[in-house]
Each structure stands twice: as C-alpha cells, then as structure tokens.
Symmetry: C2
C-alpha cells in the first residue's frame, strides 16, 4: 500500500479526486440493451455525474453497437440519485442514470451504480488500530457509499472474523441498500453500537455521520486516498454557528425551494413563508452563488440539498442556512439545538 | 447631454451596464391583478431577467398588497422572452415574465416589457451627422429593442420631420412589434433602405444587425451610454473564423440541443447527428463553459441561443460553433459563406 504523505488526521478536506487506483466501470450494457428491446425504445437518454461525463461518448458508442437507437446525453449538472434530468427522462423511451444507486427505479428509469473496483480490505486492516478492540466493545456499525456497496458483505465478514459484532440497517426509503449512506441521509448508521466504521472516500459523508451521531465515534477508512481518520466536527460546527450569527440580523429572507425531482421539501418552505412576512419563495434547480447574487435578500434558507448549504455555503454572498439553522437565527429554537440537515423520503 | 470619454468609434464592447440615467419601471400591476382576479389565481409566478431580480421582493409585496395570493419568484437565470421558466409557469395560476416583450402571450402568461424612460431624441439628433442626409438617400430603416419600443412612433416622427422616408417592418413571429429586433432575429431590418438606424444600448444587437445586413450602413444611436457609432464587424468576423479554423481538426463533436422553451432547434441538431457518426447529442438548458468542461469533445455546435455561441464563445474550453459555422468546419460549405446565426419562429 502506498503512503499518502499529505494525510493529516481529522482533516476531512481530502476528496477522492486524486485517485491512486485505476478504476474500471461496469456500465451494465446488457441490462440497458434488454430494456431497450423490452420497451421497443427508439431513444435512450443517458445521465452521468460530473466526474464521469467524459465517458459519455464511449458508452453511447457501445450502446449503439449493440442495439439500434438514438442516444441523448444529459448536459445538466448531476450530483445524486435525487437529481434525475426530468426533461430528458420524459423525452427518452429508456433513461439510464449512471453513478448512483436507485432512489426509485421504474421500467423506464435504470440506475447503473458503477461500483468501484478498489480493494477495501487493506485500509480496513489499518482501521483496526483506531477501532475499539472487540474485548472492550464488540459492536461496530458499518456503513459505506453506493460506490463500494458491492463489497459490503466482504467488509462485514472481515470485521466478524476479527471478533466484532457488526450492526447494520437499511435506513429509510431514500436508501437502496443495507449499510448505505447518502450525503443527506445517515439513517443506516442508527444502530446499537458505540462506534461506526465508515468505508469510503469524500469528506462530506463522514462529517454528516459524525454530526448526526455525536454519541458515537466515527472511524473513516478511505480506500481511495488510503487514509484512516477520526471524524472531527469542530471546524464544521464553528462555520455553521458563524453563518447563523450573521443571519440573525437579516430583515429579508429568500427561501429556496429546489425544483429537482428528489430535492424538493415544500412543507419546510411553506412553514417558513407562513410564519414570516419578510420571507420570499425562490424556485430554482441548481442552487449556486451566481444565481443568488442578483437577489437582494439579507439571508437565504435552502430547503433543497443540504450539502449545498453546508459544504458550499461559505461561497455565497449572504448567509445560506438550513431550515433548522433558520429556526435558530429567528429565535424559534436555541442555537445549541441545530443539527445536521438531513433529507428523508423520495418524491 | 453628458460626455462619455470612454467612447471609441466602432467599439461595440460597451454595454448598458453603467447607466447614466435613472430608470423607473412600470410593473403594470393593474394588469397582473386583473389576471389574478379573472383566473381566481392562488399562486402567481414572477420571472425577472438578471438585472431586475433584485426588484422581485418589492414587486411581490406590491402584488400581495393588492390581491391575496402566494407569490413564487423564479431563481432560474433568464435572458429573453424565449426563456420562460416552464417549471414555475406550470405550477403557477398566473405567470408574469418581466423585462421582455411577448413571444407568445396566453391567458396564463403575462409579459410585462418594462419600457425604459430614457429620452431617445438627443442621441438621435447626434446621429444625424452620421446618417446620410435625405438629399442623397431619403430611405432609412429604423429598428430598436423591446426596451425602447414605447418611443418608436416618436423616433419615426423625428426622422420624418427631418426629411427621411422611414422604412420599417415587423419581421416574423418571433418579434412582437414593428421595428423590433432581438439578439437572434433582425428580420425587421430587412427593409428597402441603404442605411439602418438602430436606437438602443448593448453591443450584440447592432453587431447582429451589421452581420445580417452587410450591404447596409448600420448607425448605432445608444441613448443609454450616449454614444453614436458605426457598427464594425471586423473583429467579430476574425474571432468567428478563428473558432471555425480551430474546429476543423475536431474528431468528435458535442451537438447541443437547448431545452429552454424558445431556444430549441431540433431539426438543426438532428441534421448534424444524421450526417456525422462522431457527433453526439447533449441536452441542457443553460449552456455555460462549466457545464461543457466535463465533456471530452473536440468541438461543440450550439443549436440553442446564437448569442451564447458568438458572444460567450471564447470563454469555452473548446471551439463552440453555430450550425452554419459547423458546416464550414466540416467542409459542407465554404468558410466565406458563414453568416450570423439567427433564430426564427416561436415554439
């Protein structure tokens, strides 16, 4: 295993962008061709997350080599299974969403998760020295992301063979698999164990885990960057407190309702509008600093994707809060009660 | 009249952003309230172009003071009458689009053009010294933008009183008014006159005019920046030739079909796909450098808004061509035949 000298314990800012491993993806062409045949499809829509968009033409070629059809590629930004390109979906006979596990699969919509082929056992071996040993606490919760879900049984066996009692659950409707977490949903970690082992890359998922389960130790085994860390929420909490404090003086509020199919929380938006005459509803799909810059509000509440609020928040020209943080800013609840914003249900 | 020392003849890069005049807009609240009453509307959707988005909360307040309803504000970017927020439109009982003249008005959709209150006569007076005098050529074509359309009769009278025979026409379906031009449509300048007087701001409209009507002199009277210029297309043509030359080596092409309601040209996209196996269809609404950067194509053809291709083109990581320029790049027609990309019909 190669050494990562940039590793700094507790620093969650490392992402999986600098890959140490080559990846080969299985685009599940057979399943796509089968659906095209079954539905007698003339048009096939393809949607890729940002990091995989460059594969689109090769996948299109592969499909057209196997079956006669017109392929349409979504150029919309895409950040999750919640983020289907509904325009293209409606206009395709078969619609394939790559890179995320299903939020709601139908005859027409195929999710192709694109599992990573990274070996997770070496970094799990390394994580053992950070986990409590089975003699002190046998229980460990095990969670991972969609990307590594294909190795979940392997992960479980690895821990069990070393004497751990592995606690897992599926979570809720928004999650496809036992043990799966999303950046907006950690219900699968709600298990009877004092520690959680998160196997996966990225910085946001383990942060959310630690925020959602402050009573548990969250050990991060990142097989992409080859690092083991303990989740540290301190910086994150300080940043959120600062945003809430800045928003406390706000006179006018822009309340964002996200129009993406799996990111709309109308009830949350409506509750704010009903109680606050200085709150105005803004509907949009992509929530970006550029798009909000032209609006002259003192602060914003984002009822859409929680990651945008907390991860991208500092890039916006005015404080951007989660619904829970809004409640603290206007005095509906004490600041100490703000938690991590999570998202439940599908659409 | 104040002097603009930054004025440089023929330079079309001045925009109307540094306003010399205050503007007061008429939001036509009576017409909105009437529609809300007539349709017994519970929800009113409002859409503003970028420069007017900051007015949204005040307009929302004014409407709610006059009639009971829920106001929803579109946060989508908006650049023209072709660019309705269809998500919000479908979900509002009355939908108001501010800042552009109607492309297709319905019972539900109200366009409020927001005419400028800038006096156009002083700059027209100044333009007389650049126009050919009536004794040499009495005919002059007169065009303007939606923003100054309320003063079109005044402009016409001004010229007629000075001995000109003013030639005007409506153009086509895409245009609401006699004498109106859009950035993508100059059919109203297709009149029997050797010179055109364009009254308006911005850089793109007069450039398009001059490109579309190379046999005419295009005199620009800009009442916003207080400058008179002659349109000069040389720099523009060089930039476009350079883009086409760069794209001549392209092996793979991304063909953009814009999903905005008034910006889709499916036939143009399909024609390219049908003749070129190395062309791939990409569907998206906002066509931006960021969104195309993740695609690994050698060049792109944009069948959507022509302004994005030619005005924003140099900001993209790969050559972005109009359909006509694509034909030149792949050898379907000589480079000398590429013209300005225009857009006809509504949707």
């Amino acid at each position: 295993m190669s050494e990562d000298t940039s590793y700094s314990p507790g620093d969650l800012r490392n992402t999986g962008m600098r890959l140490k491993h080559d990846r080969e993806w299985d685009y599940e062409l057979d399943r796509i061709v089968e659906a095209v045949d079954a539905r007698d499809a003339e048009t096939v829509g393809l949607q890729f997350p940002e990091g995989l968009k460059r594969r689109a033409p090769r996948v299109a070629d592969d499909i057209r080599d196997l079956v006669e059809c017109r392929v349409l590629i979504s150029g919309q930004p895409c950040y999750g299974a919640c983020d289907l390109d509904t325009y293209l979906m409606k206009r395709s006979d078969v619609f394939v969403h790559f890179g995320h596990s299903p939020m709601k699969e139908t005859d027409k919509v195929i999710y192709v998760p694109l599992f990573s082929n990274v070996d997770v056992l070496p970094i799990m071996e390394e994580a053992l020295s950070t986990l409590e040993v089975p003699s002190e606490s046998s229980e460990v919760g095990l969670v991972t992301t969609a990307q590594h879900m294909n190795r979940f049984d392997e992960m479980r066996s690895f821990l069990e063979e070393r004497g751990y009692r592995v606690r897992t659950r599926r979570g809720d409707d928004r999650l496809t698999h036992e043990g799966q977490v999303l950046g907006c949903n950690y219900a699968s970690a709600d298990v009877d164990a004092p520690q959680i082992l998160y196997v996966g890359g990225g910085k946001f998922h383990p942060l959310g885990l630690a925020m959602e389960h402050p009573e548990k130790d969250v050990v991060i085994a990142d097989p992409v960057n080859n690092v083991v860390t303990l989740a540290d929420t301190e910086k994150f909490v300080k940043q959120r407190y600062a945003a809430v404090h800045k928003a406390m003086d706000a006179k006018t509020w822009g309340v964002i309702f996200c129009t993406k199919i799996g990111q709309g929380r109308w009830d949350e938006a409506e509750a704010i509008l009903d109680e606050n005459d200085d709150a105005y509803l803004i509907t949009l799909d992509e929530v970006t600093p550029d798009r909000l810059r032209n609006f002259d509000f003192d602060a914003f509440v984002n009822t859409g994707c929680p990651r945008i609020t907390t991860d991208d928040g500092p890039r916006f020209h005015k404080p951007l809060l989660t619904p829970g943080e809004y409640d603290a800013a206007v005095g509906n609840k004490p600041l100490s009660e703000i938690g991590f914003d999570t998202f439940h249900g599908t659409w």
